[in-house]
Structures are given as structure tokens and as C-alpha cells.
Symmetry: C2
């Protein structure tokens, strides 16, 4: 089954306590696509870049089985550029530069060859752009996930709620869950947000792991305790890509399989933060991923027999 991904493809310039980069390849859809490509070779990308975007980056995506037919290249435009600086605790960052460039007028077009998609991942984008993609699909995908951020809660809440009501799972972080629900308790927040029309909610807590909720159940995946977080950029998108890649490859959207998907998603995210940008993602293979998942098993699995 194919996985359709919509999101940004961008240049990032990143500064962390460990160093800084020039403009490197970034963007939510880039991380999502590369993460998903570890599980499926049917990844279809819808995004936009300018004429400054290097052809070899597009070739890199193709090499990772990402179909770039839906990647618009705007001849007289420049690629979306973001620059940020992380604080010493790596949990917060300042945005230094945001140049929307071609993203400002992004009008996503889903190619005909993408129409058969069963899984759709809407990366963080203007809610109306996310909605436009859903509306272009003649058949509703089996499973739709979306990411968003506090900016859209502040500036496009009505549109955002419209998109939320049309998808199956929303991924947001803990602060965003509190903002969207007005509840401090994540359990209460989740129940309120699920009522907006979702089947599932994933709350990402960064170094504190991730929670998967439906109306009755909750699953928690820890983050791997790391000696060093080198660059957190893209960890959340890697998580989303791993999650949706695993689901689309296994064709199973039961709660039990979503648990597995979240563990694989967490494992992939734990790689991304080890190097700048997408660097570490490009080095992955099945053995490395399996070894990492084994660390998650050792970290969190126990055996208790309850005598009643």
C-alpha cells in the first residue's frame, strides 16, 4: 500500500551547543519520507521547492524510494528556509530566520498516479493546504495522520479544527495538547481533543517519550535515554514518518500494531538526534534499526505474573 506524504522540503541552518551548519537539506516531508522509506518503497511526496534546490538532493530522495513526481519546482522561486538556534538544554530553541519563499503560495497538486494511496501523512503546514490535499483524493485513504503546531492554533484554529475532524490521528507535543484542549492534565487533554473527531491522538513529549490515546486505551513509548542529543531538528517528523511507514508496510491499523509502530518511530527518532539534520537517517539499515528496537525492548519490557 502506498503512503502519500505532504509537507515542507526546506533548507535549514542549525546551531546547537555542539556546532553549527550551513544551509542543509531539511523540511518535515524530507524527514518523514526518509524515515518511512525504511519500511516501504511506496512513498509518494507532494511538496514544493525553488530553483535553488539541488538536483542531487532530489536524487537522494529517489534513491530512498521516494517518488518525487509531486514535488513542484518553482522556476523563479526560492526554497523555504528556516534557521534556528538551540539552547543548552536542547529542549527549547529560538527561530533566527524564517523565509517562506515558495511555501507562501504553495498550492499542492496530487498527481493522478498518487490517487490510490491508502495511507496519508499530512506534515505540519497551513491547515487549508492540508485540507486541500484531503479534498483532492477521490477515495478517502484507509488511514490519515496529521501533524500541526501551536502557530496554527493561534492563527488558524477554525481551519485546523476542520482538518482534525477529517483525519484519524493527530500528532502534537504536550504543550500543544494543553493549548488545544485548555487542559493541563494530558489525560483530560487527550479526551477533549479526541472528541474533535479523531480516532487516535499521539502526544509527543520529546525526551520523555510519547503517548498514544484512543477513547479507551493509552500506550506509552519511552524515549531512549541518550548520552547526548546532538541536534533535535526533525525528531518529531522522523517519528511521524516511522509511524506511518511502519503502518503502511504492515497494513495493520489495530491498536496493538500501532504500539509497534510507535516503538519503531521512537527508535528512528533516536537516530535522527545523533547528528545534524538528516545525516544519521541516511546511514540507517535494517540491522541498525533492529538493534535500536532491541534497546527499547530492554528498556521497557518486564515480566510480571499477577496471582489473583
Amino acid at each position: 500500500m502506498s503512503l502519500l506524504i505532504v509537507g515542507t522540503v526546506a533548507f535549514d541552518a542549525i546551531e546547537t551547543p555542539f556546532g553549527k551548519t550551513e544551509k542543509i537539506i531539511g523540511g518535515a516531508a524530507t524527514y518523514i519520507g526518509l524515515a518511512a522509506s525504511n519500511f516501504t518503497n511506496k512513498v509518494n511526496l507532494v511538496s514544493v521547492v525553488g530553483n535553488d534546490f539541488p538536483q542531487d538532493a532530489i536524487e537522494m530522495m529517489k534513491k530512498h524510494n521516494i517518488n518525487t513526481e509531486g514535488l513542484q519546482i518553482i522556476k523563479d522561486g526560492k526554497t523555504f528556509f528556516w534557521s534556528g538556534k538551540y539552547h543548552n538544554d536542547m529542549n527549547s530553541r529560538d527561530t533566527l530566520i524564517t523565509e517562506l519563499n515558495v511555501l507562501a503560495d504553495f498550492n499542492p497538486v496530487v498527481p493522478d498516479s498518487y490517487q490510490d494511496c491508502d495511507f496519508l501523512m499530512l506534515g505540519n503546514l497551513t491547515p487549508s493546504v492540508q485540507l486541500s490535499v484531503i479534498n483532492q483524493l477521490k477515495k478517502r485513504p484507509k488511514f490519515i495522520a496529521m501533524d500541526t503546531m501551536n502557530f496554527w492554533m493561534d492563527n488558524a484554529l477554525d481551519d485546523l479544527k476542520k482538518v482534525i475532524s477529517k483525519v484519524d490521528v493527530l500528532t502534537i507535543n504536550d504543550e500543544e495538547a494543553r493549548q488545544l484542549s485548555g487542559e493541563y492534565s494530558l489525560v483530560k487533554a487527550a479526551q477533549k481533543i479526541l472528541k474533535m473527531g479523531l480516532k487516535y491522538l499521539i502526544i509527543k513529549k520529546g525526551e520523555h517519550g510519547a503517548l498514544l490515546f484512543d477513547t479507551k486505551k493509552v500506550f506509552f513509548a519511552p524515549a531512549l535515554p541518550l548520552k547526548e542529543v546532538f541536534d533535535p531538528t526533525g525528531a518529531g517528523d522522523t517519528f511521524a514518518g516511522g509511524f506511518m511507514g511502519y503502518l503502511s508496510a504492515t497494513k495493520d491499523i489495530s491498536f496493538e500494531n500501532m504500539k509497534r509502530a510507535i516503538i519503531y518511530a521512537s527508535a528512528l527518532a533516536s537516530f535522527t538526534v545523533e547528528k545534524f539534520g538528516i545525516e544519521r537517517l541516511l546511514e540507517l539499515n535494517k540491522k541498525l534499526i533492529n538493534d535500536r528496537v532491541r534497546l527499547f525492548i530492554d528498556l521497557s519490557q518486564f515480566e510480571i505474573e499477577l496471582d489473583e
Copy 2:
């Protein structure tokens, strides 16, 4: 095998966003003892109170199989009193009143009948008092755990390090681990702290769960996502008591069994925060605890078969 507990028995007055209490029974050793008593009926208490401490609170302890022979009652003294107010997020609090009273001159005496103890839990106390208890034991217990807090890192670091070097496991929170090690990464912090002479380190992260480290392995127990934290007082002590109670009852200090002990410890702590003070702990029974542990299993256990 018997469990020896040394720690405070106190009066607390607590204010949370949900309400406030008059002086109620509190103290680290009270929570530790009550938690442990769910697993073993051989809990021996060493502590001190004043003549204002109610006899029915002592009877309550006895009813929970806590041996109070080592509880000194200072005829002309007053019981240690602490009063605190929790902030709205329940993660931080202001201390309003600390009256050390009989705790100021606490000179613990281990009764002869306690000498055979195999497990020793040193609640948070002046390090020299903790040390005095270790030194009074003719035979080193099989397993010694200690709790401490940032106050002793600021004011009695040398003594604290001396106690640490004599115990098997230290339980501290994440901020204390960072302070004690000078490392932000909890993985690095743990490795440094273990080198102070410990076999194991438990880092408590409150609502974000708890980590168990030895020099090679790490295990993570999630906290149960709760709709409401009513009163966090005593959660850490309940955790320690559940941990040591389970270990002393099962007589197994393997890493695998410590995992189980931490899950039971987390389950008990999740009860304590549901009501003021020790109120909820007094209501527990085996069925309630088993049901709660089952929630932890559902929350964190998954099945992944790694094909190599």
C-alpha cells in the same frame, strides 16, 4: 526477610489547588512503611516523634505490620512539622513552614531485635544520621537503599558521599541527579553517580516515570498518566517503600526482579497522589494493586518480533 526503615515520621499541612489540610500524619518513613507493608509483614521502623504524636497513628502503623519498637517518643518534644503549598502544575511547591523539633537532635537507635535485617531503606535524613544506622548494624544488610535531597548536596556533600559509598542503590530525582553529577544528560549523570560506589541508581522523574541504571543496563518505568494529581506529597517515599517492600518479600535482587519492583513501586505511588497524605495508601489491598499493575502492563508492554 525483614526490612529496616529509617526516616521521618511527621505532621504535614498541605495546600494544593484542590484544597488544604490541617496537620495530618506524614513523614518519609510513614509512606515507606505503609507502602512496603503491602508486600511484607516484617517492617521495622526507626524514627522519632514528640509527645504530641497521636497514639492512634502508632496503632495504625502496627495494624499495617509496622514494628514501632524503634520509634522514639520524646516526652518533652514536638513532632517534626512541615507545611507546603503546591503550585497549579503540581510539579513545584513552596515550603511554608519547617519545624524540625525532635528531628533536630534525632539520634537513631537500632533495637537489638532489628539486627537481623536483610534489607535497609534509609529515608531522606541528615547523611550523618543515615550513616549512624549503617554503623549500628553488626551484619551488613544484603541490600541497602537510600533517599536524599538537594539540601544535603548543598550543605553536607562530604557526608552524603560517604553514605552513598556504603549503599547499593540511591533514589533521587532528575534535578538532584544533575546537581550531584554536574551533568545534564541523565545517562552521563547516572554513570558518574554510580562511580561514587553504588551498584544501582534510580532517577525519579515524577510524572515522567523513573529510570533504573546499573553500569551496563537501563530500565524505564512510566508513570501512569492520571486525570488528576490531587496531592503529590509522599509519592517518592511511597515509590521507595514499594520498591524495597517488593524486593524484601521476593528475596531477589536481580536486575529482572528490580524491574518488577519498580513497576509495583510506580503503581503504589500512583495511588498516593490520588488523595491527601497517606489517605489512599490506607485503602489499598491486593486486588487494587494488581489491577493497577495491570494498567502499567497495558500502558507499556508490546510485542515485537525482530526478523534478523
